[in-house]
């Protein structure tokens, strides 16, 4: 075991204030803009975390309305993802699809969001019907838009309808006006567009940090995997940076509505704008946490130095890093893209939080990257990250171990408006299909999608952004690519289905779940699809052996998804919960839950809203929204057991090479777990034994988890569970469930 030590003398000497500027395009952009609607409103600050109203904008009809936030909304849905799901439920019908005008994009920051004293408190939750899954997607994103929206006067923004021409929605929370502007021409890609709009709407240089832009890029319009960039102005770099609402294609919905950008200009931020009931508790809790980071982070995860990329080498060491489309768990070249490299490459002597007061400061930035390809070839840019997911998804999973290419892939994903996790997983799938002859040069339009071919990878992305050829096919995502390849007769359907890492239509994020049954459930038995933000149980299950029985795993798959849902109800980030722990955490019962931090969250919520809760209430708050979302999925024709099915690559070895790479482990499991004898059996026979055992136990896991969650074996919340949660107060919710009981 070697704890990485930070050596400041090794940090590359890169001027973090230097980059290509695009402000010379400002006049042209301004000339193409025309105001089509302007309405005044009364700006207001929150009281106890809530402004008590939301804003509805129909970008088609240009209707602009304020709606009150009811006590029931606060009691049942809390805010953030809860408000998003509530508004979306009321906006759509079971037949609504992502590109129908009634589909909405709802952005809501949550009652605690905008607090400046604790780490990870600037989050917005974005909810919409996903083009990839046809069910609600929710995405938790940093940047300043959510807090500034709330400090302008709104707990949520609902966007409905479709515009005929591109529009920009500007909310001025200082002057009190809402303006819709048509825009002709001008840039689409985020790094140019957001820079221009930040300068266009800020009133002078000092105002730049009070403006935030939500935008996407060219690829969002030509793919189903579009993402939204939420900006924040970096005062020291003097540039606009982004955090991403990545998963599920919300950027695609955004462009389908012909929204070019959302801009908010908020008041100057101060420490008390939420008007919490108990600022003293918030101050003390925040200072205690900042001290904990100062004292412990350097000897624990080094989030301030590496961000989440610190686990690249950890996942590699534990055979959990996805390599070559989740076939293998480690690779000899990983040292080229691990955190010992990134902490030299990322700028270290500046502030890296995506909202004020984030002492964890994981938003690392790599400055001075000169692009080698694409429309911005030759430009010098700042790239955020790479975070773990980017290094693993764009890197090891596709066999790309050149850090500059990895940064360039990361940059273009961001500015083109596509999700890096999704892009990484779908490209890994394309590359494996290429290697196995399902694809070839002719079928990809000349792209040689061999492992590690970053130039072909980038070219595929540029084609995606232009809506051309195979780039457009790849932009459909893994699920629709699988269907297309099978329909074209390009390969064995079972193999294609086995290796395409998606569930519910969403691509897997970047962890190997093959050897952890609990994590197989953590990915597949989710509301929105396989994203690790519900539960990450691999260490507990596979390494620690803490949850050996089905009941243990089911308990973990009850608690953690609910606990982690709560961050999204309130505008919190997950990372400060467990990427640092108090010095005495190891002495606590249930150390893996980080009990002191759970208590911090309970205290911060109570001190903001005045609603006194304890840690059990916290779980109940989440359970209401989590079960509401499950019912929402069922209402949309999904959300049942069959929709939780997992691709076999996530459960076990699909191919001979995979089996043989871990033959000792797999042979041993035949003896100890199945009580059979592998001797004299061919690899194919042993693979078949594994497949049966692994799919059977996944099915048993489903039974255990559904039962623990209060659902039927078909995955439907029971009436008793709905009553327990008070969701029976919504007749429509009960009606949906009744049809399945």
């Amino acid at each position: 075991m070697s704890q990485l030590v930070f050596d400041p003398s090794k940090v590359m000497d890169i001027d973090y204030t230097k980059r290509t500027e695009y402000l010379d395009q400002l006049e042209a952009l301004r000339a193409g803009m025309r105001t089509v609607k302007e309405v005044p409103f009364q700006p207001s600050l929150p009281d106890k975390g809530y402004t008590n109203r939301t804003l509805y904008v129909n970008v088609g009809s240009l209707e602009v309305t304020e709606k009150p936030v009811t006590q029931q909304m606060k009691d049942v849905f809390i805010g953030g993802r809860g408000f998003g799901l509530y508004h979306l439920w009321n906006a759509v019908k079971p037949t609504t699809r992502w590109n129908d005008p009634e589909n909405e994009i709802v952005i809501s920051p949550g009652p605690v969001a905008g607090m400046t004293q604790y780490a990870g408190t600037g989050k917005s939750l974005v909810v919409s019907l996903s083009p990839q899954t046809d069910i609600p997607i929710d995405s938790n994103v940093g940047g300043f838009y959510g807090p500034l929206l709330k400090f302008s006067g709104f707990d949520a923004l609902e966007l409905q309808g479709k515009a005929e021409k591109d529009i920009i929605l500007f909310i001025d929370g200082v002057k009190g006006l809402i303006r819709v502007e048509e825009v002709a021409g001008g840039p689409e890609d985020s790094h140019v567009l957001a820079e221009l709009l930040t300068h266009l709407y800020a009133e002078g240089e000092k105002d730049l940090p009070n403006v935030s832009v939500v935008s996407t890029g060219a690829a969002a319009a030509h793919s189903l995997i579009g993402m939204l960039n939420f900006s924040f102005y970096d005062r020291r770099r003097k540039c606009v940076r982004f955090k991403q609402a990545g998963r599920g294609g919300i950027g695609t919905v955004f462009r389908d509505k012909r929204i070019r950008a959302l801009v908010v200009r908020g008041p100057k931020v101060a420490g008390d704008l939420n008007h919490p009931v108990d600022p003293e508790t918030i101050a003390k809790t925040g200072i205690k946490y900042h001290k904990e980071i100062r004292e412990n982070d350097g000897g624990q995860c080094m989030m301030r130095r590496n961000g989440t990329a610190h686990i690249v080498e950890i996942m590699d060491a534990y055979d959990l890093l996805p390599v070559h489309n989740f076939q293998y768990g480690s690779h000899p070249e990983v040292h080229k893209i691990d955190s010992s490299y990134w902490q030299q490459r990322c700028t270290q002597h500046t502030v890296d939080g995506c909202w004020y007061g984030c002492s964890m400061a994981c938003a690392k930035g790599a400055d001075g990257l000169v692009l080698k390809t694409g429309p911005y070839k030759g430009d010098m840019v700042t790239v955020d990250g790479p975070e773990y997911e980017n290094a693993a998804g764009l890197g090891s999973n596709c066999g790309v171990f050149d850090p500059d290419y990895l940064l360039e892939l990361n940059f273009y994903c961001d500015t083109y408006g596509i999700c890096t996790i999704t892009y990484g997983t779908l490209t890994a799938f394309v590359m494996e299909c290429y290697q196995r002859g399902i694809l070839n040069k002719e079928r990809t339009g000349g792209l040689e999608m061999t492992w590690g071919n970053a130039e072909a990878d980038l070219e595929m992305m540029h084609r995606m952004a232009r809506g051309e050829g195979f780039g457009k096919i790849a932009g459909l995502g893994v699920k629709k690519m699988k269907e297309y390849f099978i329909q074209q007769g390009w390969g064995d359907p079972q193999l294609i289905n086995d290796i395409g890492m998606e569930n519910k239509g969403l691509e897997y994020s970047q962890y190997m779940s093959k050897e952890s049954l609990a994590q197989q459930g953590g990915y597949a038995l989710t509301n929105k699809g396989p994203q690790h933000d519900e539960a990450w149980l691999i260490f507990m299950d596979m390494v620690n052996k803490q949850i050996p029985t089905f009941e243990d795993k089911a308990e973990a798959l009850y608690y953690f998804p609910l606990f982690r849902t709560w961050f999204g109800l309130n505008g919190f980030c997950k990372l400060p919960w467990n990427d640092v722990v108090p010095a005495n955490n190891s002495e606590q019962p249930e150390a893996h839950k980080v009990p002191e931090h759970v208590q911090n969250y309970v205290d911060l919520f109570s001190a903001t809203t005045g609603v006194k809760i304890d840690k059990e209430d916290l779980i109940m708050q989440s359970a209401r929204v989590y079960n509401f979302q499950r019912v929402f999925n069922i209402r949309m024709g999904k959300g049942l057991r069959l929709h939780d099915a997992a691709p076999y690559r996530s459960l076990g070895p699909v191919t001979k090479e995979e089996y043989e790479s871990r033959a000792e482990r797999y042979d041993q499991q035949i003896i100890t777990e199945m009580g059979l004898d592998p001797a004299g059996k061919s690899t194919e026979e042993k693979m078949a034994m594994h497949r049966k055992w692994r799919t059977d136990r996944f099915s048993k896991l489903m039974d255990s988890v559904y039962t623990r969650r209060g659902w039927t074996l078909d995955g439907v919340p029971t009436l008793a569970r709905l009553q327990e949660l008070g969701l029976d107060a919504f007749p429509e919710v009960v009606d949906v469930v009744k049809q399945h009981l």
Binding site: D272, G286, I287, H290, H349, Y356, C358, S359
Partner: protein, 140 residues
């Protein structure tokens, strides 16, 4: 840079004085009658001697401040701009000397700015403002 320095050869940690330094700071600088709000705090050890909690202008807080509210002035003293401060208290949490203070009635934190009002009132002449080299910026 100007730094407030305390000489514990002369300071007796309040055993034979009335913490005049703290009171003067609280009243003159912060306009409060409470020495607990002063930007320097003299603590006596039980077994003799004592320590002072005060800012040595090291500048770590400048590095962590997200809103650029902390900057050195011409004298090298770290000053807080109340207009820019967002009240995040990272300066407090990251100060290894616990020299950044917080009054529950104010949102903006405060600390010693080497102004020297305390120097004049110390009955033992233990305090002085000295010109010392500015330390290199640290990666925090």
């Amino acid at each position: 840079m100007k730094q407030l320095v305390i000489d514990f050869q002369k300071c007796d940690a309040g055993r034979n004085c009335n913490h005049e330094c703290e009171m003067e700071c609280a009243v003159k600088v912060f306009k409060v009658d409470d020495p607990a709000q002063a930007a320097l705090q003299i603590k006596a050890y039980e077994d003799g001697g004592g320590k002072a909690v005060l800012c040595d202008q090291c500048g770590d807080c400048i590095v962590v401040c997200p809103s650029e509210a902390l900057k050195r002035n011409k004298l090298g003293v770290v000053m807080i701009d109340k207009q820019l401060c967002v009240g995040c208290y990272m300066c407090i949490g990251f100060c290894e000397k616990d020299a950044f203070m917080r009054n529950p009635d104010w949102i903006v934190p405060h600390k010693c700015t080497s102004c020297g009002v305390c120097v004049k009132v110390c009955p033992h002449g233990a305090l002085s403002i000295q010109d010392v080299p500015e330390p290199a910026v640290r990666i925090i």
